[in-house]
Symmetry: D2
Subunit: 365 residues, 4 copies
Amino acid sequence: MSSSFNGGVKFSLFGESHGKGIGVVIDNLPAGEQLNVEKIGEFMARRAPKKDGTSTMRSEKDIPDILSGIYEGKTTGTPLAAVIFNQDQHSADYGNISHIARPAHADHTGFLRYNGANDPRGGGHFSGRITAPLCFAGAVCGQILSSRGITTGAHILSIKGVRDDVFDPVSVTANQLETVKKRLFPTISENAEAKMREVIASARESLDSVGGVVECAAVGFPAGVGSPMLDGLENIISRLVFAIPAVKGIEFGNGFECADLFGSENNDEFAIKDGKIVTKTNNHGGILGGISSGMPIVFRAAFKPTPSISRPQNSVDFKTMTEEELVIKGRHDPCVVPRAVPCVEAALNIALLSALLENPSIPEV
Amino acid sequence: MSSSFNGGVKFSLFGESHGKGIGVVIDNLPAGEQLNVEKIGEFMARRAPKKDGTSTMRSEKDIPDILSGIYEGKTTGTPLAAVIFNQDQHSADYGNISHIARPAHADHTGFLRYNGANDPRGGGHFSGRITAPLCFAGAVCGQILSSRGITTGAHILSIKGVRDDVFDPVSVTANQLETVKKRLFPTISENAEAKMREVIASARESLDSVGGVVECAAVGFPAGVGSPMLDGLENIISRLVFAIPAVKGIEFGNGFECADLFGSENNDEFAIKDGKIVTKTNNHGGILGGISSGMPIVFRAAFKPTPSISRPQNSVDFKTMTEEELVIKGRHDPCVVPRAVPCVEAALNIALLSALLENPSIPEV
Amino acid sequence: MSSSFNGGVKFSLFGESHGKGIGVVIDNLPAGEQLNVEKIGEFMARRAPKKDGTSTMRSEKDIPDILSGIYEGKTTGTPLAAVIFNQDQHSADYGNISHIARPAHADHTGFLRYNGANDPRGGGHFSGRITAPLCFAGAVCGQILSSRGITTGAHILSIKGVRDDVFDPVSVTANQLETVKKRLFPTISENAEAKMREVIASARESLDSVGGVVECAAVGFPAGVGSPMLDGLENIISRLVFAIPAVKGIEFGNGFECADLFGSENNDEFAIKDGKIVTKTNNHGGILGGISSGMPIVFRAAFKPTPSISRPQNSVDFKTMTEEELVIKGRHDPCVVPRAVPCVEAALNIALLSALLENPSIPEV
Amino acid sequence: MSSSFNGGVKFSLFGESHGKGIGVVIDNLPAGEQLNVEKIGEFMARRAPKKDGTSTMRSEKDIPDILSGIYEGKTTGTPLAAVIFNQDQHSADYGNISHIARPAHADHTGFLRYNGANDPRGGGHFSGRITAPLCFAGAVCGQILSSRGITTGAHILSIKGVRDDVFDPVSVTANQLETVKKRLFPTISENAEAKMREVIASARESLDSVGGVVECAAVGFPAGVGSPMLDGLENIISRLVFAIPAVKGIEFGNGFECADLFGSENNDEFAIKDGKIVTKTNNHGGILGGISSGMPIVFRAAFKPTPSISRPQNSVDFKTMTEEELVIKGRHDPCVVPRAVPCVEAALNIALLSALLENPSIPEV
């Protein structure tokens, strides 16, 4: 029951939406890894709210203050801690703490879980803001992966049914991943972007919100990393991805589609290409028996529509136990998916570095 | 990188398909819990191969030998270990260990991961057989949940597109769960059963296999259990469900469907019913912010078609690095889904008991 | 391999002696616990350097900045993070990073462990400064214990052979523990204090240092908490106490002395007193089979003399691999023991709260 | 709160003294390590009761049945499980379960901890018998260490004040360790053996028992392995050593003696010898900052006298809450120390392999 993860990489997240600061301590990183702090900032900026109408108007600068773990530009190998001090909090918006549960939020479940003692302002520790330190950790892990020739990337696969192109699970390249993730609105197809922006704008205008799907991939990840049973890549990635609020589903490779196929259709035949073992198709999403096959790792995560909508909703005041109408004020994203893209990528980065570090090889004596 | 789990409940799985024995050590169970060993056997029998053409003809009696942790019919509170000795191994079928990778199996990834030292016979530790001790652990946890009024159950939601009815996410009852899970072929609709049996029979005849989806639910689970971020119910359940070989996707509540909805459609409004806070709909699947809401917990897991099919397949000998045609011999399930139903339920049982035990309440001094 | 602990209480320490900040994230604390921030400060002040000649002249204000986890004066139940920003760093003292290993320090072992990438300034993460956030965590846990009637305390048992009185292992009281820990120089006997101060002063004058033993106890801790084997109270306490640099030994109850006794002398006979089961003697130190007996918990930790002494020492430059004479500059404690007293107490506080929280009781449904 | 350990090596112990079987699952072992099962048996035989009057007359054959994790003589890399079926149980000796707490045993604390549901026969899971699977795990880890040139060994340093010679902390050799551990009564000095045997015989005759100290060492362990703070070698070793019932203290290097020294006496000066950095003395016991220095690792553990003595003792019936005289029947070791020697070594073996495996090196991609 905690906000920490103890794999090959260990990290501990902290902070509440309207508290003094949020952050993360990352432990067990390899020593001597060159980190580019500016690029960490660029990664985190991908998660920051945009001024293009797709997200909240809150300005979250989210500049992380690195307190330890880096010396002369490199990881020390001892814990790396980063803090983001909260600034633009507008607590007036949340002035009188309401006990009317916001539908699809954790107000009521959190109240029960913590006997009413949790910080309720802006969702407290349940806030999507805690994905900022998650992205910090993901950016750090991503740079270490990158220095080993491993590239990860994600894009918006769909928003309320409007679909982008897909990553080709066999031939997606590092370049494609790098290209799409640099886009302000990360889709492969510009046409899809335009339509998605329309859907989002329309939802915002009607005081509503929309959900979507993020597709994420890794290339260059070596074959033979991971484990069967409890610590396979799917186990770790899914555990980390569900740390992102609003995720309700995850699938690897062809995912739920495999349930409708014959084995003869779904099985990926092996072949030799350029002296390496590959599969001709990649329905398995680069993972067999929890272990990487050397093919691109591909998965998708489903995000529900932003729970906070400005329309009146029926609800319950869980202190007075009376039914009440609720109108949520404040600034909210009409769609969290664009900002969720780097979060999913961060989860993957952490999972992959973690798995690499857990390979139990005994160093030479 | 391990086959162990360290939540509120801790367990460590072991064994290889054709080794001497498989089993599990479960640690941290509450003391003094009455266990019905016969009912554990019934739970495990649901996973055993059936003689009705839907599964392998191997007879896996799988009678667990409980070595510790139970005294006078109750849990001692110290580790509970159970072993299933392998008997019907037919290692002749696997006589000359082939290094031709079976498509969609972990032969090659396992070989790489363990530098060729893993037990290759029948998949070794990657075998579906290791779900037998998982079911044992799930049966134990299920009985403890049951004594607290918590009921879990699962059914085959679909097999290659043929769909069963669904659990009503708002009103599914303990009775319905108990009823469906006692069925030899666990579907809600007998009509669906008939059609699914046809699909499986037809796949078997054409030396092929089929996949499907399992839907699983819990009722009676108290609200307020779980955690935000890394140890939420979705994180734990998904980590455990992905321990079952062949799972390629998981979704909670309305899952991937939520990605196509407006917030105003997807949000579950709160209401008061019989003096308790409920939601009118249950798109959230009983989990908000990683914490139980008191509504039924509902999720689905997608299973790929059995990788082992008797049709010739193209593959690669990973020792000689040559492309080879592969014909898999031996007896295999044309569809793992019926036998996977109790496995999914087991994963849920472990996750729920684990979450209950992790609620950090300080005992009275 | 990490600076984190994952028991009932989880925490992750970070920071380097001369980095930007040091701190701790504490996870899994029970929600709704009243915390007195001022008293946390008082606890930490006991660890701060004194101006009385017994410690370094560095002024470490060590005022912790609490970033999360407290709301309206109470624990939220979500992670509690605290940072101490480094101020008085005098990095000039460490200007040219020397690669001459300081005897009894971790300069060389740390260099090897982190491939030369760790922060060497002032010992980096190996510095005794990291016990400041340990004390913070211990102070927090101590307040929660205190609200349940559990009191812990420690004193200097000896410094270079000069001995204080001992806690009576059977009858030590909360009052005695509270009294001794409030003393500037925490001994039971004022006479012992005077002699110890002389020993320390004399060591400082001769550019030398001295070691000592800290004795620590808890009263009011309920019987029946802990576990056999790996997570017993002795296992946890010792693991935590060895996190304090300079500890080289730990013993519980009569400790090493028991090795010289007959069973008939060492066994603590049971009796009934005021309706409760007690032991007439307390050689077992309040722990039997890893579990609390209800008697006072008593243990001792041995501290080596401060490694940093100003006398010339023979050593080796591990970069050039040449033997060199070393003269350590800077300000150093002639004896760490007085400042170590609250650190040992902190380790005990964390261990005891952790054990209390791990009792696997299922909450009522 | 568990009988499992989750370091680089993971293991889970199970079993009760008079249950069906005891054993261990070891996870995360490197794959492809040659294991000599006969030598594992020899290791365990060192822990078995001797017929020479120093131990109980129970015959514990303790032949482990390896169920998984070894294939063609080598570790598979997947979990290795071993079971020892209990045979010679003489439950008649324990026929009517007494609720009179045996002094210095965990009868009462265990009863409280498990609400009276734990298996009380012969101490249940608290029994010293559970050190048999600990020795199995230690023997396995020891062979893997051995193949890397690392040798560990232990001897009886003292029994009730009768002292053996000590390992020279600077120059102890692998040969010396191998020699002493092969002795039936593992002392360095035959003279000491004779005197210790007398002390034990005399205790047995007077229906009493005696305690002692075990000294343990490792040579060949590479420098630079371990960590500061919570996962240092001292933290891990002590946590594992306290899993052995009857241990009441542990000290590294010169241990408690360091508390009486000046820094100038205690500091181990560095020098270069044969091109390697060494220390001239080894008060630090081969560990600085939690990390190995390359010098021999040396520590000592204190064992209390066997609690079970045949003399009448005063005690309490914790069910009836009345004071009662207790006379313990059955066969008991007058001194556990000779049989504890391989247990301490086993704890060290597990700790060292665990630390080696946790060095977070990223494999080449």
